[in-house]
């Protein structure tokens, strides 16, 4: 990176609108996942692991939610990590898997979209954004082979079609469109089970938020790596909705009400779950 001297020629060269491509030429060491690959499989339990993310569509948008726990082996590495981010004004990205690489990947992805928008003066299509995330993810494949896997979930509002859409990924960068709802991460088996029963076509935004929180609650119930809502420390999941009005993070006091109502409903009749 240059200090205050003249802009290097590469900056002035006409070419791609992709920040990741520019970074790969100018400062490849800054790309997430471009670390030298080693043969041993030592790093996995040391690196914090981020867990469950869910997303579901509702009438006029999509909601994404992630729990707040990161684990390192059997230890809780963080109680308040955030794993759901605004990718741009009309999309959200959640990460599960190796936390450090995942957070960096999300940051690069945000910048990639913003960079394109500033240079081209227009937004990428939702499919374009989803494909871009797949390409970025593929660069992490060597580390994924050693156990530092990142699996993002991408959801956004399609401005052309006027609906919310969800995309899931595999560690090789494969991109799959999901319908209705999806989840990734260690607790996703339980969360997806819950979503199957709770999701209905034509949900309203507030109901969708409730369903997302309940799915995470079920995941935390059975998966030790997923954190449930913490009323003592007042730590709630990160829940965001994306609609034609843009990305909106659901504020904590709204989530507190949702969680209180959920716990009350589940305590009824001594169900204790």
């Amino acid at each position: 990176m240059t200090g205050s001297g003249r802009l290097p020629d590469a900056f002035l060269r006409p070419g791609s609108s992709s920040f990741a491509d520019f970074l790969a030429q100018q400062a490849p060491e800054l790309l997430p996942g471009r670390l030298p690959a080693r043969a041993s499989e030592g790093g996995t339990p040391l690196a914090p692991h981020a867990t469950t993310i869910v997303a579901l569509v509702f009438d006029g948008g999509v909601v994404m939610a992630g729990d707040r726990r990161a684990t390192a082996g059997t230890m809780i590495a963080s109680r308040e990590i955030e794993k759901v981010f605004p990718a741009d004004e009309f999309s959200a990205v959640g990460i599960s898997g190796s936390a450090g690489i995942g957070v960096d990947l999300a940051r690069l992805f945000q910048l990639e979209l913003e960079h394109y928008e500033k240079i081209e003066g227009s937004l990428l299509s939702l499919d374009g954004k989803a494909n871009r995330l797949g390409t970025l993810l593929r660069a992490n494949l060597p580390l994924a082979m050693q156990g530092l896997v990142v699996v993002p979930l991408f959801a956004g509002y399609d401005l052309d079609r006027g609906i919310g859409r969800i995309f899931s990924y595999d560690p090789t960068g494969g991109r799959y469109e999901e319908h209705e709802h999806h989840g990734t991460g260690s607790g996703s088996i339980f969360a997806r089970g819950a979503l199957k029963k709770l999701w209905k076509p034509g949900l309203a935004a507030a109901d969708a938020v409730r369903v997302a929180v309940e799915a995470l609650y079920d995941a935390a119930d059975d998966d030790s790596a997923t954190g449930g809502p913490d009323p003592v420390r007042r730590i709630w999941p990160v829940v965001a909705t994306v609609t034609s009005a843009g990305y909106r993070r659901v504020p904590d006091d709204e989530l507190a009400d949702v969680v209180t109502a959920l716990v009350a409903a589940r305590t009824e009749g001594g169900r204790l779950a």
């Binding site: 205050s4 003249r6 900056f11 002035l12 100018q26 500033k118 003066g121």
Partner: protein, 263 residues
């Protein structure tokens, strides 16, 4: 074999400067002025796609006059510079000063070493938390940098228009008043490029204007284009004179500036 004529360095630099100045004066002016809520950029530009004003980073914007291909190249370089810097360090570490320096070095090197200077003039502006922290840098074709206070006109009949703008400008203008001042200043030049007398300026249709603001109140990305219905409404409000809706924002401004003045 013929001997090349001797050209003194003074003459060489003067020729290059004249060449660049002529190119820059050919186009329409861009007006940049600070107002209470941030920094306003305006120019007469019928194109919706080829911008003279654009976003560089969260709080930083760019305006240019001269040759489109040359300043577009510099703009893209600026976006790359800012994004790379913000990604390597932190978003807070991207400053207009750093970018202005990088541009100045680039323009200066091209001016002295290449066969043709860049026929461009730029403004790099950063909006701060208060109007006292706003920064406006003006960069010339030869790499010279000027740290401007409050207002800048560049391109076209820049000198004459700058004098008029300076007369009308005061600290703590509201958005409507600032937009009115900007459009009157731009209207000081006729369609043939000749200067019109003060008071008989031409009115410019909103569709012919490119207007953007760095809005101090916006959370992260402060840059916002005023176009379509929003611009029509804003210009209607500004041409209506001292409308009542103008007054509340002006009142808050007045108190703000007094407290700043005392500090």
């Amino acid at each position: 074999m013929t001997m090349p004529f001797y050209v003194s360095p003074e003459q060489l630099m003067k020729d290059r400067a004249d060449f660049a100045r002529k190119g820059i004066a050919r186009g329409r002016s861009v007006v940049v002025l600070a107002f209470e809520g941030g920094i306003l950029f305006a120019t007469e530009n019928p194109s919706r796609a080829l911008h003279k004003i654009s976003e560089i980073y969260d709080r930083i914007a760019f305006a240019a006059v001269g040759k489109y291909n040359e300043f577009e190249n510099l703009r893209v370089a600026g976006v790359r510079y800012a994004d790379l810097r913000g990604y390597s360090y932190d978003r807070k570490d991207v400053t207009a000063r750093g970018l202005a320096n990088a541009y100045a070095q680039t323009l200066g090197t091209v001016f002295t070493t290449e066969s043709k200077p860049l026929e461009v003039e730029l403004v790099v502006a950063e909006v701060g938390a208060t109007s006292a922290e706003d920064q406006i840098y003006r960069l010339s074709y030869d790499g010279s940098v000027a740290d401007e206070r409050g207002h800048v006109v560049m391109g076209g009949q820049a000198e004459q228009l700058a004098a008029r703008l300076a007369e009308g400008w005061s600290e703590g203008l509201g958005l409507a008043a600032a937009l009115r001042l900007a459009t009157t200043t731009l209207g000081g030049v006729g369609t043939d490029g000749g200067l019109l007398a003060a008071g008989s300026e031409r009115t410019i249709e909103p569709a012919q204007l490119e207007v953007a603001v760095l809005d101090r109140t916006r959370q992260r990305r402060a840059f916002r284009r005023l176009q379509g219905a929003a611009l029509t409404a804003a210009t209607a409000e500004s041409t209506a004179g001292q409308t009542p809706s103008d007054t509340p924002s002006d009142t808050t401004t007045a108190t703000d500036t007094t407290t700043e003045g005392q500090a």
